[in-house]
Subunit: 351 residues, 2 copies
DNA sequence: GGACCAAATTTGATCGTTCAAATTGATCGT
DNA sequence: ACGATCAATTTGAACGATCAAATTTGGTCC
């Protein structure tokens, strides 16, 4: 390991002072090009890297963002999506010289306790929140304590979307589901069912509206008929299968299904034995393995957008009562990934 | 936000000196119980938390472990397993007052570059490695540079398992597959196929041996017959389906299948239409949704074991030529999760 | 009561960096 | 030629904690 070189070693090697080296790193414009080169050569020669903790102590900034690992979120981004998101976030953060620290929490209150720990210890100086919900206590706490943060998910219900209290990036689920439904209508299907989550659910209700709009506009069915094609349930493959079974009994013939998640879609697909088109949401590995269509969220753009908001003019905080030049949120569009099923017959056990 | 209290504020409030407060936190035994209580009251009253960066600067320890996010590892722990592992690791690290920092890397060399960045910047002071392979350059680099680390995975091939050059925790895949095979033999099946990965692959070869042993001991088949039931391929559902199709053509009737991964098992299960028992590896969500048996790795124990080794006497490093009292590795046993299929018929398209 | 020793507590120095103020050296206007 | 101005660089101080050494406290023994 040896002793790591410090800024003083670099200064000595380059024949300048500490501060000049510091300036080369942080405010290059202050340094004469000639000296800058000398210093840069010394830095490279010694393999010097600034000591993160020393810098943090002095600047009171950690250049680290915190994100909770939420493995089993029923709502919003589930499992493998969070995984992809975390990966993309970390990769892009790295390019901006930001580090990512993860933590776990049992519930929202526990998460707030972690916010406290991590911000007070100066471990992180901004937070990334996923799966926001109506009346979220976490955003409230962060705003009150002046901690910078960005959410993946709109501030459902609490405030105006166009004039938000905080920064957010979200995916327009309604639009995605609407496009998917329109695609199915374009193939000739009319009796298109929607299997989603129980209300109230910000994400869930929004997605359902996409299906509802498309159906009302172009299916030619009466409102009661459309309503009869809607089955709210819990998230999960078995629930998806049961919901479709239920719909077939109560609403009769179903020509296609749009689902609020891939888990539900898997169930519906299994139950329908691949005979009718099923469209899921999130384009998880299951969808591609089994081979059903799914709506893909632009995860990279979400992560990139969040970092942009965090490092941009706002610095993760919306200054109250101040003119805002840059946008404070982004609503991104998902896109439909079409697949033809790899399986022909598939039926759920009768048990 | 206000100004956070420092150790000096606590000292003043408790009527003692800096160092006494520091001792209450780090070496309570040095402090008289009476004073300790006073200080603890002051800490609680002010809501003081030590400034992580200041402590790190002084102690030259970050109390942070780094782990690479590897989203698409074909070998070893794949996708959702890494997710579960990361979650478990973070949760257990938290209890030991350790933080977890994540990073991404395109390949091993890139990962080594990250090791450098993070250790030189004193961002992390130990690494967690997953999916080790034969002649892994990463472990070599870490050993050479004296960076503490633990691997999830044995040092395949490089050195002696019972006298390792570094700390590791692994799951006994051979034993797991062996038990799974024995279970199938117990149900009366004899012609049990094995679908795994191409050789050489540390993990893959080890798992295959488990099947081979069980077959040689108890199937009653001749060695050539057993060999004919083995199909090595790439990881993935389609490869699994193709492998089983191939085996049916070349080896004839197959009564059950054991696979090196759930992805392969999914393919085999789809191809066999759920008619014969299929056992996968990793017990991913796909296995539970679709409903096939799978071998579950004790992820929590793996994470816990790795942290134990890291924080134990070794401090993540095996001192060369020194007597070692504590064990330097752990080999854990997986267990079989049995399921009855939820689907009855399922066939792969002929394309 | 004073000498001695261990336990408890305090003080001085330091980790590596950046901020703020001070210094140097060159250019310029009058 | 002389101070004023400005760019480039240096020096002193501080961030908040811990280590190492010094000091005080308190008890025991003769």
């Amino acid at each position: 390991m040896g002793q790591l070189p410090t800024i003083l070693d670099v200064a000595a090697a380059a024949g300048v002072s500490r501060q000049t080296v510091s300036n080369v790193l942080n405010s290059p414009s202050l340094v004469r090009p000639e000296t800058r080169e000398k210093v840069e050569a010394a830095i490279a020669g010694l393999g010097y890297r600034p000591h993160a903790s020393a810098r943090r102590l002095r600047t009171q900034k950690s250049s680290t963002i915190g994100i909770r690992l939420d493995p089993l979120s029923a709502d919003g981004i589930s499992g493998s999506i969070l995984d992809r998101f975390l990966h993309s976030l970390t990769e892009q953060a790295d390019r901006k010289d930001l580090r990512v620290m993860v933590f776990t929490a049992a519930d929202s209150n526990d998460e707030i306790r972690q916010f406290k720990r991590l911000s007070e210890g100066a471990d992180v100086d901004a937070f990334i929140l996923t799966a926001t919900f109506h009346g979220d206590p976490r955003t409230q706490w962060l705003i009150e304590h002046g901690e910078p943060f960005v959410t993946f998910g709109r501030p459902w219900g609490t405030d105006d979307i166009s004039d938000p209290e905080h920064l957010w990036v979200d995916v327009d689920g309604r639009h995605g589901i609407r496009e998917a439904t329109i695609h199915l209508l374009g193939t000739g299907a009319r009796r298109i069912a929607y299997i989603g989550w129980h209300s109230p659910s910000g994400t869930g209700d929004d997605r359902r509206r996409g299906w509802q709009q498309a159906m009302e506009e172009s299916s030619g069915l009466r409102p009661e008929e459309i309503a009869a094609l809607h089955a709210p349930t819990e998230d999960g493959a078995t629930f998806g299968a049961e919901a479709l079974l239920h719909l077939e009994k109560t609403a009769g013939n179903i020509e296609a299904v749009v689902c609020a998640s891939d888990a539900l879609a898997l169930g519906a697909f299994m139950h329908s034995a691949g005979r009718i088109p099923v469209i899921g949401y999130d384009n998880t590995p299951v969808a591609s393995s089994i081979g059903f269509s799914s709506i893909e969220q632009p995860i990279d753009d979400v992560a990139g957008g969040m970092l942009e908001l965090l490092t941009g003019a706002h610095g993760g905080r919306v200054q109250p009562g101040q003119e805002v030049a840059e946008p404070t949120h982004q609503l991104l569009q998902p896109h439909l990934v079409l697949r033809t099923p790899r399986v022909q017959a598939l039926t759920v056990r009768s048990n």
